[in-house]
Each structure stands twice: as C-alpha cells, then as structure tokens.
C-alpha cells in the first residue's frame, strides 16, 4: 500500500486509527497460517461451519458431462454469504481491544448484515451506514440488521459532517458506497469506535481462507483431487479465500476468477496503484482496476459492482497463475436458472457468474471427454435477490 502523492493526510496512518490493531497486524502479516482464536471458532461452529461441500450431480447429468462438479456452499451461513467469515474475527479482535462499538458501510447489504450479526454474537454495538437507495429498495436487508440489533442509517445522514455537507447540496441525494464509507469512517473516528472492512484487503482474504481450507479437507475426506477451481470476483475475498489455499497447496491445475462483462476490469482494467475505495480514504494498492471514479452500471450482482480486484489476486492474474472470465447478465441469468433447476438452490447473482464458468468448463470437458473435477465457491444464496431475478425473468420473456 502507499499513500497518494501530495496526500493531505496519510491513509496508512488512518488505517491505524480506524482498524482494530490485530486486524491491521494480520493485514500485513507474512505468516503462512494464523490460528483462529477459539472464540471465533466457537462462533463459526455456532453458525453451522463448516459449510457443506456438495456435489452438483444433477447439474452434471443435465450437462451430460464426464466432469464431476462440487461446490462449497457459503450461502448456508445464516447471513447467506461468505461475508460473516471476516466479520466475526474483525468484531472479535475489536472486542478484545476493548472496543464497544464497530461501524461500517454497506451497499447491497450483505456485508452490513454480517457485521450486524458478528457484533451481536460478541455483544458489542454496531452502526451500519447503508446507501440510501439500497436502504429503500432492500428493506429486508435493513430489517435483518435491525433484528440483529444494529443501528442502520440511510446514508447520507445528518449525523456526520460529511453527510450533512452532501445533504446540504442535495437533500435527496441517493447516496453511494463512497459516501457511506466516508460517513462510517468519520463516525468511527469521532466516537473512537472501530471501522470494519469487508473485502479487497489481504486481511479479508485471510479470514475468508477458511472457505478453501475447509473445502480442501472436505475434498480429501471424499478422496477427490480438484482440477479446476472457480469463483466469482467482486473485490476478490470470496475468490481468494476459496482458491488461494488450493493454489498454495498446489492442488488443482486451473484457477478461474470470474467477473462481470458489464464491469470489465479484467479485460479493460489497468494494473496500477489505485484507491481500493471510491472515497479515496484508504491507501493506494497495486491492482487491476478500472479507476476508483469508474461508475459501475447497475447490474443485479451488486457485489460485483467494484472497480478493482484485490492486489494479491491481481498479481496472480498478471502472472497468469489465475485465469479470468467475464460474463454478461443474460448469460449469468441463464446459468442461474440451470443451476436452480438442477440443484434447487437460488444462487446469488454474483455466484451465478462462477456457475456460468463451471458450465462452460464442464461442457469443455465433455467435448474433450475429460473426467475433470471442478470445484467452485457458491458464495451466497439469492433468496433476497429474488426481486432482481424477477426483473431478469420479465426481461428475458420479452
């Protein structure tokens, strides 16, 4: 990470002020393995980890492929996505440091939900700044957070200077992730709370590596060796958490990171230093990026509406150790439908990107008559995205 040229303040120094110490330490660790604190393990257990590794047998049959398809189902966690994996340790370390209150922002709501639950589990308070349009359009996400006991504000709010400034310019501002983040950081600083970060940074990938660690063990238990590993990429934490352990253990021959065609970071992005956040509050990192000011089109896979990819993932893609794909919304809608009809599970639109790549690889294996073992990360379920699916359904019927 580096600070921007002619920085008005040091972003790296800011990290130190807003992040829990242990989280920051882990962000910059070089340890190969970091022990999960017992309290966090208990919390994982309590929420039903390990998540299941399932075989998508009917999908194989529908595709008539010689490939075997397995998936790690992170949607089986109570908050419906992998986000809880890093929310828990971050909240735990906060509490260990005597912090009584954590703050974050959320766009589509999955990260906010995870933080809200983690805070409840370790009995500390949480405040979530939720982008106002999401707050209005995804009331269910807001309801869950509230039921978990968090304070949820529609950002921009009038409880931060930054929010007030935005509102004074436009009373009806719909909000943005950048604004929500700025508000969250300001709110954390002012109250000496801690701010939690949901993706992109190495520490988030580190915490998510429980996905890949579990999956490797589960594959061992059923005696399968993976050939192809696939995940979708928003910031990169679910992909990295899933694929890096396999990569590190040299298990697998092909790793595929799947992004959105509408947000073409892999095909059109540059590899350069850029802000991980659109607010420009965090230190610059070197990554594949469309630029922090890039405005992602409003695709339904809200979690992929991100301009960059985590530095480690970006480097591995540059070094050609990881391949990438980009799929369009109609393609992933079809893939999601096929998967639903085969396995019953409504995938998150984000995860449907991975599914599309899985289907392509399975068909490729069929063409070549190869008995590949494909494993992918189903990072979340799409039960709270059904209104989006309905819109896609209506569109596809026209």
């Amino acid at each position: 990470p580096r600070d921007p040229q002619d920085a008005d303040f040091s972003r790296i120094d800011l990290l130190r002020k807003i992040m829990p110490k242990e989280v920051l330490r882990q962000q910059f660790t070089v340890e190969r393995f970091i022990k999960i604190p017992e309290e966090v393990r208990d919390a994982y257990l309590n929420l039903g980890r390990p998540t299941p590794l399932l075989r998508a047998k009917r999908l194989e049959e529908m595709l008539n492929t010689p490939a075997k398809i397995y998936f790690k189902f992170e949607g089986a966690t109570p908050t419906g996505s992998h986000k809880i994996n890093t929310a828990l340790p971050q909240v735990y370390f906060s509490k260990e440091e005597g912090i009584t209150h954590v703050v974050t922002e959320t766009g589509a709501g999955q990260w906010g939900t995870a933080v809200a639950l983690a805070a409840r589990m370790f009995d500390i308070s949480a405040t979530v700044f939720m982008v106002k349009v999401s707050y209005q359009q995804k009331p269910q996400r807001r309801t869950i957070m509230q039921l978990y006991g968090s304070d949820v504000y529609a950002s921009p709010t009038d409880i931060t200077d930054f929010g007030k400034k935005i509102l004074s310019e436009n009373k009806d501002h719909p909000g943005s992730l950048g604004i929500a983040m700025s508000e969250a950081i300001e709110y954390a600083l002012k109250n000496e709370y801690k701010y939690l970060v949901g993706s992109v940074l190495d520490v988030a990938i580190l915490h998510q590596s429980i996905i890949g660690q579990e999956a490797m063990r589960q594959m061992d238990e059923i005696g399968e060796e993976p050939d192809i590993l696939i995940g979708c990429v928003g910031g990169g934490s679910n992909f990295g958490g899933f694929a890096f352990p396999f990569l590190g253990a040299k298990k697998g021959e092909k790793y595929i990171a799947v992004g959105s065609y509408e947000i073409p970071k892999f095909s059109k992005g540059d590899y350069m230093y850029d802000y991980p956040d659109s607010a420009g509050m965090l230190p610059l990192v070197k990554m594949i990026t469309l630029g922090k000011d890039y405005v992602p089109p409003p695709i339904y896979a809200g979690g992929l509406r991100y301009h960059g990819a985590a530095p480690s993932l970006s480097l591995l893609i540059r070094e050609k150790m990881i391949e990438w794909r980009e799929y369009s919304e109609p393609e992933i809608f079809e893939a999601a439908k096929i998967f639903m009809q085969a396995q019953g599970i409504v995938p998150a639109p984000e995860s449907a990107h991975a599914i599309k790549a899985v289907i392509d690889e399975a068909l490729e294996a069929k063409k070549n008559n190869e008995k590949k073992v494909i494993v992918f990360n189903l990072s979340g379920h799409g039960l709270l995205d059904l209104p989006n699916y309905e819109l896609m359904l209506n569109r596809s019927q026209k």
């Binding site: 040229q5 790296i12 990290l15 130190r16 330490r25 910059f28 230093y273």
Partner: protein, 244 residues
C-alpha cells in the same frame, strides 16, 4: 562484532547547517552507516513523517549536489543514498556517475523490487558498473524465494523494512518476522523502515538482525525538540545496540 546503527536523514533537513551537524554528530555518537534521502517527486513508499521532511526541503539541483558533496567530505563512514529509481530513470547513468564522482558509497532504491522487479538485476549491474554499491530494499511483501536470492546480490547489507511504510506504527510481529527472514538472508541484515520503539529493535536484534536503520524517529525529534535532541537519540539507540 557490534551491531550496526544506520542513521537516516533527508538531505538538507531541517536546513543545510543542521543537516550537516546531525550527520557529523551522528557518526560521533555511533552511527556506522549514514543514509541520505534525496527528495523525490513522489515519495511512494515513505510515511507521513519522512514526507513532511521532504516538503520542508527546497534545494535547487545545484544546491542538492553541493550539499551532498560537502557532506561526503565531512563524513568518513559509508554513505548510502536513498532515492526512487523512477525519478532518475531518464538520466540514470549521469546520476550514478555523479554520485560516484563525489564519493558516495552506495545507493538504495526502495521501488527497485516493487516496481521494477522483472529487471532489477539490470539496474543492480548498472549501479555496480558505475562504481557504486547496490543496497537492495526488501519488505514482507517480497516473496521468500526472492528475498533469499536478492540477499546474496545486495552489497554491504540487505535492507529489510518491516512495516508497509515508515513512521506509522502499524502493528507487526517483529520477532517472528525477523526470525523468519533471518533464515532466508545470506548477508548482513539491516532492519528498518518503520521500526519505531526500542522494544521492536531489541526483538529484531534478538532475532538475528545485524543492524538497525533509524530515520522517522530522528525527524520527529527534530520537529519537536530540535537537532540536539535528535543527536541524543543517536546516542540512546547506540546504547541499545550495544546491549547485543
């Protein structure tokens, strides 16, 4: 053999006179090697304190070289220049020749392994061609195998910066970090770029570091209490090193 104290100051900070005085006194109080930072266009990998020192300095090119020459003449311990390769790329040969001509010993580019990793050997050779020593900068983000390889290729010592940036006390586990890197480095190992308190220093030394590089601490001291106080700090750190 006693542990090395590598002391850093930005060229011309806080002014030419005090800079020279700090450099000379620093050697007197026990610095083994001096590092001199030349103000870059963009201090990519420096922390806010070092950056403030750059901002405080406003030397013309002519004044820069004059001051550097004067420093060299007054100092008899090795001098290593710290500056960014990126800045000097257009005139690298001339730059290196000039350094050599005024008697500078070595050069350290913090961006060498980060931004020029694929051609770092080319630049190391170039530095040596021009009669200078190439001190290589590494950090936790550099892969183990590369640390091992470049450590043999670094002149004088291998510089290992433990924190992602200078002067910001990001929490790191110095002991395990240095214990680990010590096994990889076939060379003298100088640890710095963010070491901030003496506990960390002692940990690094106990874990096998051959020396410690200090910079941010001096500048903060100068900012707060002036040059003399910073000179006392050199003495203090020397004392810590002498425990080992």
């Amino acid at each position: 053999m006693s542990k090395w104290l590598v002391s850093y100051l930005t060229l011309g900070y806080p002014n030419n006179k005090d800079f020279l005085e700090f450099m000379q006194s620093s050697v007197k109080e026990g610095s083994d090697i001096l590092e001199i930072g030349m103000k870059p266009k963009y201090a990519k990998y420096d922390g806010p304190v070092i950056r403030r020192s750059y901002k405080a300095v406003n030397l013309s090119e002519e004044e820069t070289w004059k001051l550097l020459k004067e420093t060299r003449e007054k100092i008899d311990v090795p001098i290593v220049i710290l500056t960014y390769l990126e800045d000097w790329l257009p005139s690298l040969d001339t730059f290196l020749e000039k350094l050599h001509n005024i008697g500078i010993d070595g050069i350290l580019f913090p961006d060498l392994l980060i931004d020029f990793v694929d051609e770092y050997e080319k630049y190391v050779n170039k530095i040596r061609e021009k009669g200078l020593k190439a001190v290589i900068f590494t950090a936790p983000s550099v892969p183990d195998t590369m640390i091992h390889n470049v450590s043999k290729n670094s002149d004088m010592f291998l510089y290992y910066g433990v924190r992602p940036t200078t002067g910001v006390p990001i929490p790191v586990s110095v002991d395990s970090l240095i214990t680990r890197v010590r096994t990889l480095v076939e060379n003298k190992l100088v640890v710095g770029f963010g070491l901030s308190d003496v506990n960390d220093m002692r940990k690094a030394l106990r874990a096998g570091a051959d020396g410690i590089a200090i910079g941010t601490a001096y500048i903060e001291e100068i900012e707060k209490n002036g040059i003399n106080s910073a000179i006392s700090l050199v003495k203090y750190f020397r004392g810590v090193l002498n425990e080992f």
